[in-house]
Symmetry: C2
Subunit: 138 residues, 2 copies
Amino acid sequence: MYSIGELSRATGCKVETIRYYEKIGLMPEPARSVGNQRRYAEHHRERLHFIRHSRELGFTIGDIRELLELSDQSQRECSAVDALARRHRDAVQERIRSLGALRDELDRMIAGCQGGDVAHCRVIQVLGDHGLCRQEHA
Amino acid sequence: MYSIGELSRATGCKVETIRYYEKIGLMPEPARSVGNQRRYAEHHRERLHFIRHSRELGFTIGDIRELLELSDQSQRECSAVDALARRHRDAVQERIRSLGALRDELDRMIAGCQGGDVAHCRVIQVLGDHGLCRQEHA
DNA sequence: TAAATAGCTGTAGCAACCACAGGTTCAAAG
DNA sequence: CTTTGAACCTGTGGTTGCTACAGCTATTTA
């Protein structure tokens, strides 16, 4: 049996976050001690580990809810899991692309700046006039 | 003189967002009509344009506040502006790097899945066990 | 002049937590 | 057995950058 602090140390998840996951129904309510403190079993640790790792990989809480449901139905085909993971991967890829365009635009803007006073600053000019951008960027 | 709706159409910024920018002090309070409706001048349009464009380039509200202050002191050297833009560019670059590592991890996870049932699904296994990851990706 | 559209303020909600405040319980030391 | 101090409890409010009402008033158009 883990106390909430022990579970926290075991998973690297903050105490408040554990209670938050319980409140939103992502973690099941654990047993309580006589004095009303939470007492966790091994399966809680595994589930929280799953949640934290999924979050680190950028899945949303909604995604994780689905993944947990799917992983409970262990004899079903895993194509739904696969599809969810692929969608997420594609979303990450798209975000990378869009941030790349952003960085390029920032680079051009910064490269245009030759020093001098703010009135002639290329950065300030570009920020005030989208027309000076080479690309659409959102 | 623009009404708030006209300013909204002129800048692509939602009416509620314009009011929000006023509330947080990013946009100055405009004149009012007899019936208490907001009436904007050209300099409001320019400032809002600057704000929107900066947001599109990923600057935070805090950054924009600084940029606006700096751009008001038009005879000062623009090195502070430059530095802020560079810091932001570097943060974007770092985010791209970290998302790249994430995508690679997701790719490995997905590639490991050979179909079959959820109990043997590689995706589910990896999510439950960080040790199966090749890299730290936190 | 009446209806339709646009504007007003104020509040609450989103994601995914974090940080208290003010009180209670637990575990170990004396 | 008692004390002490760390850990725990619930509930609320804050973060970022907006968006979406509700319930009312102003303006514009037919």
